[in-house]
């Protein structure tokens, strides 16, 4: 079975700037994949190369086995891209636009599917509205719809929720999740790490054109981020000497203690008890992707 996306030693420079430095990446069919990284990391450049909007200097990429340069027509049929920029064609209504976009992909009489997509994106009542009359959030939905007119097996969304209200985010993720469950491969870039954590099975982190972390979301979480015990002691007491080295005081006067595994909770409480310190409040903080992200980006230098 061909990989949904296969990227081999892809390099791209803009003048002196190396936007992609020999990126290797395979994404399997049916995955929900997250592509994370700070601004300027090269996420959009990578996506543009897959979509044929940019030509790489060297290396290759293919979609479901079709090389994005050599078999560009077949590759593009497999791919639906929601671009980062909020672009639109002011001459047309939503439905006209979606019909035209279907035609570009060689699909005629696509109205059943168009209606379904519109309904799923809560756009049905805007179908005959001109693009320039739509709000930003609505335009974003149309961009998603345009990317889906040809039912692409591989869907790439480049920061689809940047500056978008909660309602649209929820609508969008419900729809994209359904598509993923029906077998579509989904690749997502986002700055909302919570979103990525909830949605993505696997994640790649990009920094300055390089992949600096690539693993399943759960592995990344357990590998990079330990659980922490947050506690507050009665009467403003300090941590006993046995724990002082491991604990950090937060600005509010509470302490956080990093744990290697959950069994350590017991021993920490035991030490506190022995020392006569009494716990006023206690909370176990789960690892989150944000910590992973920060530490990966930090380690990658």
């Amino acid at each position: 079975m061909a990989a949904a996306i296969h990227i081999n030693q892809l390099c791209k420079t803009y003048g002196k700037l190396q936007a992609l430095r020999s990126v290797d990446l395979d994404i399997q069919q049916g995955e929900f994949f997250g592509l994370l990284g700070p601004n300027g990391a090269g996420k959009t450049t990578l996506i543009s190369t897959l979509a044929g909007l940019t030509r790489a200097d060297s290396g290759s990429a293919s979609i479901l086995g079709f090389d994005v340069q050599r078999d560009y027509r077949e590759a593009r049929r497999q791919l639906g891209v929601v671009p980062q920029e909020l672009v639109f064609d002011p001459f047309f209504t939503v439905r006209e636009l979606l019909r035209i976009q279907s035609g570009y992909f060689g699909i005629r009489r696509n109205d059943d599917w168009i209606d379904e997509v519109l309904a799923n994106l809560d756009l049905t009542d805007k179908a005959d509205t001109n693009m320039r009359k739509l709000s930003g959030g609505m335009k974003r939905r149309v961009l998603v719809a345009q990317a889906l007119v040809h039912r692409p097996p591989v869907i790439v969304l480049d920061e689809p929720t940047a500056g978008v209200d909660v309602e649209l985010r929820q609508t969008l993720w419900r729809f994209v999740r359904d598509l993923n469950q029906q077998g579509h491969t989904v690749v997502l870039t986002t700055h909302y790490l919570e979103e990525a954590e909830n949605l993505c099975g696997r994640i790649a982190m990009l920094k300055q054109g390089r992949i600096v972390a690539l693993d399943t979301t759960s592995n990344l979480l357990s590998q990079f981020s330990r659980q922490t015990l947050k506690l507050r002691l009665r009467d403003g007491a300090q941590l006993p000497p046995a724990l002082a080295a491991r604990g950090q005081m937060t600005p509010s006067g509470a302490f956080s203690i990093a744990l290697n595994d959950l069994d350590e909770v017991e021993s920490v409480l035991h030490v506190l008890h022995e020392a006569g310190a009494r716990v006023e409040d206690m909370e176990l903080a789960k690892p989150d992707l944000e910590e992973v992200f920060v530490s990966v980006m930090h380690e990658a230098g």
């Binding site: 909007l53 940019t54 027509r73 077949e74 791919l79 920029e85 064609d89 035609g103 570009y104 060689g106």
Partner: protein, 252 residues
């Protein structure tokens, strides 16, 4: 060519048709103003080829000029608008081949050229009685002229990054070429030097050949005109196709 090509052609035609006031009515009005002013000023003084009244001589030139300028404007402005606003990606993401891409933009340019040219022709029917000696030549030069300028418009639209650059292309290349082509005069009335220069201007052959279709006579043979124009059209087309295939500017 497949449905993708036909859809892009349809979209490009719809694009100018939806703003027809600007893209069709305005250039027709401009041509009318030229006709009123020049014929008023020159009708009594100028006879071309001895027996043809100046207004009758002028009209085919104006029609052709409208065809050419609007064909150029259509492909070039569509491309630059899409590039500047970013919605060019909607035609870059689908599996359109570069030949389909080229053909759709050029044919839409021909369409706009013919619609505006036809509009000018219709309105001028009120003012002059035209002869149609060789309708096929009329059609051949109109279509070929639209193709040539449509292809040139693509080159300009792809090359330009900003509207001012396109405007410069229009003002410094297209306008001089059309105005110095014999729209308003027969080049036989020019000094010899400028007659020579005119023979290097492909637009001259378009105007002259087009006029030949009406009056049955021109400054040069229509076959020579056809050859020159076909060669230029082929040249601009090859350049455009090459540029599209390489992805120059459009696929950085």
């Amino acid at each position: 060519m497949g449905l993708g090509f036909r859809t892009l052609l349809y979209k490009e035609l719809l694009r100018f048709w939806k703003v027809g006031f600007q893209t069709v009515a305005a250039p027709v009005l401009t041509a009318m103003l030229y006709l009123l002013i020049f014929s008023h000023v020159l009708e009594a003084h100028v006879k071309v080829y001895d027996e043809i009244a100046y207004t009758a001589f002028l009209v085919p030139g104006l029609i052709m000029m409208s065809v050419l300028q609007n064909a150029f404007a259509n492909s070039s402005s569509s491309l630059i608008q899409s590039k500047v606003t970013g919605n060019i990606i909607f035609v870059l993401l689908p599996p359109l081949s570069y030949r389909e891409f080229f053909a759709a933009y050029v044919l839409a340019s021909v369409g706009r050229g013919l619609v505006v040219g036809g509009g000018v022709w219709l309105v001028t029917l009120w003012f002059v009685d035209l002869h149609y000696s060789h309708p096929l030549w009329i059609l051949a030069f109109a279509i070929l002229g639209g193709m040539m300028m449509g292809a040139l418009g693509m080159v300009a639209g792809i090359w330009a990054d900003k509207f001012d650059q396109l405007a410069a292309f229009q003002n410094f290349i297209i306008m001089p070429l059309t105005f110095l082509s014999g729209v308003f005069y027969s080049i036989h009335s020019l000094p010899e030097f400028w007659q020579g220069v005119s023979h290097w201007n492909p637009v001259f052959y378009l105007i002259d050949g087009f006029r030949y279709g009406f009056f049955g006579r021109g400054d040069v043979s229509p076959w020579l005109g056809l050859g020159v124009v076909a060669l230029c059209t082929a040249l601009f087309s090859v350049v455009t196709l090459y540029v599209l295939q390489r992805g120059y500017k459009l696929r950085g």
